[in-house]
């Protein structure tokens, strides 16, 4: 089973996944990776998305398909102030 270190995971998140979410008006920020869970922050349109769980699941599927690495994506949401109700 392939493995990533935190730097490799950061690169993957920032250069592979982030551009895709940006294309939907969103923003994905890498926070941490502990070998099993990739912690990210959802910003922009992603911060209020009602199907974010599906998207995070897909991120895990894509990671596995692209790299052979298995990980779960967990997100916190950082909304702009005007959505932070």
């Amino acid at each position: 089973m392939a493995q990533f270190d935190a730097g490799q995971m950061r690169d993957y998140v920032e250069h592979t996944l982030r551009p895709l979410l940006r294309g939907d008006g969103g923003e994905l920020v890498f926070d941490d990776y502990d070998g099993a869970t990739v912690a990210v922050t959802l910003r922009g349109e992603c911060s209020k998305c009602h199907i974010a769980d599906r998207c995070l699941l897909w991120c895990g599927e894509k990671l596995l398909a692209d790299t052979g690495v298995t990980a779960v994506f967990a997100a916190r949401r950082q909304k702009p102030f005007f959505w932070d109700t």
Binding site: G23, D24, G44, E45, W58, F82
Partner: protein
């Protein structure tokens, strides 16, 4: 008496009506049969018609599966077996989706699905066995399509597939539903009289009572429809008045929450949908803007473009709008706006055989006062916009149909309808439109634009059906569906008394767009100048090859695309910015190749130039805007090579007198933060409180983050720490350089302030490492002068803005657009501020400021973050700004010396260069390649007559000759286009 509020728990009649309407909607699509298997491949769009596939081979998509990916597209292939469907009834492909899908059946483009369209008719493709269906979907529509709450709940980058079906339409149920859609609006919208609403609600209830919803029978549906016809449509008690013209269109943002590459398919889908509606409804007409979009259709979907051409020839599909794209109309300079019209009209002429006489800009954030002249001289008599009447936050824009008088006095007819440009033909929208229409007594009708937009798609079948029913409703104004041209020609005639609006069409909203995405603004300014240089050099440079007409035109059109009103203003997502920056970099590279280098520096401004310039020198002591060099006093004739003037080799020109610095030009006292405590020049004090002071404010306008600045921003100032007080960091015989740094917890802003040996100008270079969130950075220019107005550059003349804030109109203009310069004008003196790429100027009770940077998060969380490098210059004026030649100073500030050697210009151009107030805005080869076009703009508000050494052709802005002359008169702020030559004889 005690009042007990009754809480109603039972269902109101109108709620029951609405419920039953919903039940009837379920009947519309009948005999639904799933088709398949549905095979898909996921992909991501990488170019205008290029895709990178995630799946090597298609796989089956089953109901309940998730499909689409972030920023993803899907290619569908399926067979739809139409066996068993009655061949006498129309057959439909049915797909409920929040995505945007283009449909091809048996190899022919059939239509599209999107959140507002679930059925595509496929009857025309039957008869040859199962239908071969190919579809291309893009995962989303625009993010805030609140019209359709059901689809808003389903949208996202991963969607659940519910299946694709063939079905018939229950036309009786569908027609009844169209009636009920109308009646629901009539019974609830407050624009209608309460008694009328109660009447409609009551009679709708009676009609629906004829249907047994336990067992719905066709004859009951017909009975309900007949009841509505007789009792509601047949009742003429309530009478409306006035006239509303219904024009179908679709506002299509070239980039916004999607990249411009996606717009190619959005445009295709929009055009297909509208053309299929034309097939079904013989009287339906539709108008569509932006020649750029037509070009993409022609390039990538020629068969659809061919069909479009037929429909244009038949008068059904109407090209409108002279401009190449729908650009921002504050920030592009006059030449850019002229080229928008030139290339736009050329496309119409070359492809359809005509030019258009309208400018159609419904969503633009205000319009410069230089536009009427540009439009008129580009063959446009009618201007259509919208936002001033629907978005103004302080004052109601007082006109809807009017004459718009521009800076130079030219007038065009203008229409700013009272209601939003996206409407869907609800009767209340029509009624509100007439009710709010302000020129009722002119005898004209008001304009209602209908059709979904922003992301395109346009009119729906429902909108057309509602429109057809309007004639039955006596409560409404008279309505007529017509083309845009018919509306404009019928309602804007010389005999109709129309008011005049004189000046800019300022939008009291979206004021932040003058500043958001600072790099794009700077690129815009720089490339406008580089295009000027490239065309000049190509025409008149020595030892040049043939004029690169195709290359220049291609580069110009790519540049004009970036001026689209959601790109240049900064109201777009991160990838759009990346695309724009890449496009602009390529344009810049292309222009650099054309100009070349390795030759002596030359002055291309068109007037004699003298002043301090940075000459590149690898060993120079100064670095300005990333270029190392040395300052030198240079002079150059118009179009000539520079000569350097000797400077005494001493540094005694800069003396201290206590806190003051005395140069050969002025006496200055700096504060430690780089602001000016005093600036004395020519016997007067110019600096007031907070002159050249940086100010940082909270900038939290809300959801329209990138767009807006709130009027009370000055109440929320944030501290800037002075970490490196002003100090002298370089001194040469030519110049002195001072550096000061201010910081926040996240950002660092260094200003390099330069003084020159014998001028009073204070040049400020800003190097900012900017990582803020919701902040606005400004530079204040408090002055001791009695400045009652701020004179602002429009790029083709100037306009005055009062500094007093007495009226609500003056108060609303607290942030305005100005181009290369503005002057705090005190009649006999002034304080000028030149800049190299800023457009936002604050004019408040506290004073005047230049907006430098913003840091917004929506739509782009990365907006403006990172490094910025820009300059501005403070110039005290000892006379009226016109006498001091501020316009020329600002031109030089924005027009670097060009390494092209001197130019050999025709005698007529040399003669025009002598004329003080005329500025050579552009020189180019005519579009037909035959002549040289010279574009001149009167900049000072003067008039005069010039005698020329040869006869010239005076042309319009489409380069069509009007008359010839050897003696040329010009008027204040006039834009003149002359044709000389033939080309090659310069």
């Amino acid at each position: 008496m005690a009042h007990v509020k009754v809480q109603r728990r039972s269902m109101r009649p109108e709620e029951y009506n609405s419920l039953r309407y919903g039940w009837l909607r379920r009947l519309i699509y009948e005999n639904r049969r799933p088709v398949g298997p549905v095979m898909i491949r996921n992909a991501r769009q990488t170019g205008e018609n290029d895709f990178a596939f995630y799946d090597e081979t298609p796989y089956e998509l089953r109901p309940g599966d998730l499909f689409y990916t972030p920023d993803g597209s899907v290619f569908f292939e399926l067979e739809a077996d139409d066996g068993g469907f009655d061949p006498r009834r129309p057959l439909y492909l049915y797909f409920e989706t929040t995505s945007e899908v283009i449909v091809k059946v048996n190899g022919r483009y059939a239509g599209g699905f999107d959140p507002n369209r679930t059925a595509v008719e496929v009857s025309a493709y039957r008869g040859g066995g199962p239908l071969q269906v190919e579809m291309l979907g893009f995962n989303r529509s625009k993010p805030d399509d609140e019209r359709n709450p059901e689809t808003m709940a389903k949208r996202g980058c991963r969607q659940v597939f519910d299946g694709i079906f063939l079905c018939n339409v229950n036309e009786t149920a569908q027609s009844l539903c169209y009636d009920l859609e109308l009646l629901t609006d009539l019974s609830t919208a407050e624009v209608f009289d309460p008694e009328y609403r109660a009447f409609v609600s009551r009679e709708t209830n009676q009609a629906l009572n004829l249907i047994d919803f336990e067992q719905i029978r066709p004859q009951d549906l017909r009975a309900a429809a007949a009841y509505i016809e007789a009792h509601i449509y047949g009742d003429k008690t309530w009478k409306g008045s006035g006239g509303v013209a219904l024009v179908a269109h679709s506002h299509l943002d070239i980039a916004y929450y999607w990249r411009r590459i996606h717009t190619v398919q959005k445009n295709l889908r929009t055009v297909l949908i509208q053309m299929r509606l034309m097939d079904k409804y013989p009287g339906f007409t539709y108008c569509h803007t932006q020649p750029y979009l037509y070009e993409t259709l022609k390039d990538y979907y020629p068969e659809v473009f061919a069909e479009l051409k037929e429909k244009v020839a038949a008068g059904r599909f109407e090209p409108v709008g002279a401009m190449y794209v729908e650009p921002d109309c504050n920030i592009p300079n006059a030449e850019s706006l002229i080229r928008q019209c030139l290339y736009g009209q050329r496309f119409w002429q070359e492809n359809f055989g005509f030019t258009v006489d309208s400018c159609w800009l419904p969503d633009v954030f205000g319009n410069s006062c230089i536009l009427p002249q540009i439009l008129k001289k580009s063959g446009v008599d009618y201007f259509v916009s919208n936002k001033m009447s629907t978005w103004n936050d302080t004052n109601r824009f007082p006109h809807n149909n009017f004459r718009w008088r521009g800076l130079d006095g030219t007038e065009v007819f203008a229409c700013v309808p009272p209601t939003h440009f996206i409407s869907w033909n609800e009767p209340s929208q029509v009624a509100e439109n007439w009710e709010q229409f302000q020129e009722k007594d002119s005898g004209a009708w008001t304009l209602q634009m209908f059709g979904y937009g922003d992301g395109g798609s346009g009119a729906t079948e429902e909108m057309i059906e509602l429109m057809r029913r309007f004639q039955k409703l006596s409560v409404l104004p008279e309505t007529r569906h017509m083309t845009a041209k018919a509306f404009l020609h019928e309602n804007f005639t010389e005999d109709k008394p129309l008011p005049v609006w004189d000046g800019e069409l300022y939008l009291e909203m979206h004021r932040g767009t003058f500043t958001t995405k600072a790099r794009l603004k700077k690129y815009n300014r720089e490339l406008e100048e580089q295009f000027r240089a490239a065309e000049l050099v190509s025409l008149f440079g020595e030892n040049r090859g043939p004029y690169p007409v195709d290359r220049l035109r291609g580069l110009y059109k790519r540049f004009l695309l970036q001026q689209f009103h959601d790109i240049l203003p900064g109201s777009h997502i991160t990838p759009v910015y990346e695309d724009a920056a890449n496009d602009l970099a390529q344009v810049e590279e292309g222009l650099r190749e054309i100009v070349g280098g390795g030759k002596p520096l030359a002055n291309l401004t068109g007037f004699a130039r003298e002043g301090w310039e940075l000459l590149p020198d690898a060993n120079g002591p100064f670095v300005r805007k990333g270029v190392r060099g040395r300052f030198a006093r240079v002079s150059a004739a118009p179009f000539g090579e520079i000569t350097e003037q000797p400077v005494p080799p001493d540094t005694d020109w800069l003396r201290r007198d206590g806190d003051a610095l005395i140069t050969g030009g002025c006496r200055i006292v700096f504060e430690p933060d780089g602001s000016l405590r005093s600036l004395r020049y020519a016997g007067a004090e110019y600096a007031g409180a907070s002159c050249n002071a940086l100010r940082l404010y909270d900038d939290k306008p809300g959801m329209y983050d990138a767009w807006d600045i709130l009027p009370d921003y000055e109440n929320n100032e944030r501290p800037l720490r002075l970490t490196e007080p002003l100090r002298l960091t370089a001194l040469t015989p030519e110049a002195a350089e001072f550096t000061v740094t201010q910081e926040t917890d996240r950002s660092r802003i260094t200003r390099i302030i330069r003084l020159f040996r014998d001028t009073a100008a204070v040049d400020v270079e800003v190097v900012a490492d900017w990582h803020e969130s919701h902040k606005l950075l400004k530079a204040d220019f408090g002055t001791a002068l009695l400045a009652k107005s701020v004179v602002c550059d429009t790029s083709a003349g100037f306009l005055r803005r009062p500094t007093q804030k007495n009226t609500s109109w003056e108060q609303a203009r607290f942030e305005c657009c100005s181009h290369k310069w503005f002057v705090l004008d005190a009649e006999q003196r002034g304080l000028a501020v030149l800049n190299d790429g800023k457009y936002g100027v604050g004019i408040t009770r506290r004073g005047v400021s230049l907006s430098l940077l913003r840091a917004t998060e929506r739509p782009d969380p990365q907006s403006d973050l990172g490094r910025h490098n820009f300059c501005y210059r403070i110039v005290p004026l000892a006379q009226n700004f016109n006498h001091c030649g501020v316009q020329r100073q600002a031109c030089c500030y924005n027009a670097p010396l060009v390494p092209c050697g001197g130019l050999s210009v025709p005698p007529v151009l040399a003669a025009l260069a002598e004329e003080g107030s005329l500025y050579l805005q552009a020189a180019k080869l005519s579009e037909d390649g035959e002549r040289i076009i010279l574009r001149l703009v009167e900049q000072t508000g003067d008039c005069g007559v010039i005698s020329l050494p040869e006869e010239v052709a005076v042309c319009d802005l489409l380069e069509r000759p009007l008359f010839t002359a050897r003696e040329l008169s010009y008027a204040p702020f006039e834009i003149l286009t002359l044709a000389v030559g033939p080309a090659g004889t310069a």
